[in-house]
Amino acid sequence: MMTGGPMQLNVRINGVAHSLEISPGAVLGDVLRRLGYTGTKMGCREGHCGSCMVLVNGKPFNSCLLLAAKVEGAEVTTIEGLGDVRNPHPVQEAFVEAGAVQCGFCTPGMVLVTKALLEETNHPSEERVREALSGNLCRCPGYVKIFEAVKLAELKLAKRSTNGKAQPGRPSKKSR
């Protein structure tokens, strides 16, 4: 009893509800890029590089491995959902100020994983930072500046919360 053809996917992307027609075997990364969220980079397509990382209900997932059909009802955050040049997110500012960006291909994934990590714990140990970022490869500036950017992001977010500004949006509790 095979029907074939596209299927319906209801998902929130960066806070906006979408009702999409997708191919049943499509991966989330391709669906996002076709919608114009090209900050999600498709590198290896095998789970090795992390450039395709997005947040699903606040947690990092490799969007090249994740069947789009699996995010029905979920909240997906891409790099476009964090901030832009005029209004960057503190984690984005930290990456620029620490010089952790060269070609920028890995940066969306790195920034999103850092955001998720600093929402999980506001003062992660170095071991925890390494574990959380171990699925994200960078071929340009090396990892020292990236780890410095995570530290700087931690300070920026701490300052922001003591200044009474709102914390970046918490992921919804809804499970995938």
């Binding site: 009893m1 075997g25 789970g47 947690k59 990092p60 491995l65 994740l66 069947l67 171990s134 699925g135």
Partner: protein
């Protein structure tokens, strides 16, 4: 993409999932994390049945077993306090070395053991800790010992329309266990896995399990090493001899990641390390009592 998914079905109960699989078992596949569906090289047209909402993701402890639902992810296990306390934490210690954290969020217990790539992390742990695999189809339920389940490729163990619903481990408070992985980076595919476990009896080894994987096509128990260890007190010389014995009795694979010669040189060291680590845990256990 080589696998063409024609329909994507999301049953809301196990019963519904089993019925969907039974309708057309040859053309229907179960989806756990779905990684192999995405990466598979096999050109097929399939109907996908996602098990995400079938309620088989629970991690629970009964009077005498630790039970892991087939849809629990490896990340769920690594972060589970119940798994953390089981067998001195060896399950979490081992699974933490599998892939990266975001990928562990996708890999499911069922998918990991059915696919059973030679580098898979859960299968050798299941064998070394006397695990059992629980299967179900529309018509029947059955339970298979892990050592039997992995004796041939698990995909061939499943009857048509059959699903894994759970794996379980007996609670053996006295068993000590240790895990070793050799890989080029901490989260790369394993070149060798070694898991050892035994019950210490007056300082001596009893009921040993020595499981070797990733350097073999399927995880294997080394019967010769296990009988050599029976009644021994683990020290450097015994652990070294056990390592040497393992290389003589296991057929090692060679592939583009590592040659069989390389694996032959390294395997004894890993067996030795795992045994000494387990013996250290045994000492800590005695001192802390």
């Amino acid at each position: 993409m080589p696998v063409t998914v024609t329909d994507y079905l999301r049953p809301s109960s196990l019963k519904e999932a089993l019925a969907l699989l039974a309708e057309d078992p040859a053309k229907t596949i179960a989806v756990g994390g779905g990684i192999s569906v995405v990466l598979s090289g096999a050109p097929r047209r399939v109907r996908a049945v996602d098990l995400q909402h079938t309620g088989i993701n629970e991690i629970k402890k009964t009077k005498d077993e630790l039970c892991l639902g087939a849809m629990a992810s490896l990340d769920d296990l690594v972060k589970s306090p119940l798994c953390g306390k089981f067998a001195g934490g060896v399950l979490c210690e081992g699974l933490r070395t599998a892939a990266t954290e975001p990928i562990r969020r996708l890999i499911t217990v069922g998918g990991n053991i059915v696919q059973c790539y030679y580098w898979a992390t859960l299968p050798p742990l299941l064998i070394a800790l006397d695990g059992r695999v629980h299967l179900r189809s529309v018509e029947h339920r059955r339970t298979v010992k892990a050592s039997e389940f992995f004796a041939r490729p698990p995909m061939r163990q499943l009857d048509r329309g059959e699903l894994i619903t759970e794996v379980s481990f007996p609670l053996l408070p006295k068993r000590v266990a240790a895990f070793e992985k050799l890989a080029k980076t901490s989260n790369d595919y394993a070149l060798i896995h070694v898991v050892v476990s035994y019950v210490p009896k007056r300082g001596k080894v009893s009921d040993a399990r020595v499981v070797v994987a990733a350097c073999t096509n399927l995880p294997v128990r080394c019967a010769e090493v296990e009988s050599y260890l029976e009644g021994q007190t683990i020290n450097f010389a015994v652990a070294k001899e056990a390592g040497q014995l393992a290389t003589h009795h296991v057929k090692l694979r060679g592939d583009f990641r590592a040659s069989s010669e390389y694996r032959r040189r390294v395997l004894p060291v890993l067996v030795q390390r795992a045994l000494l680590k387990a013996a250290k845990k045994q000492d800590d256990f005695i001192t802390n009592r």
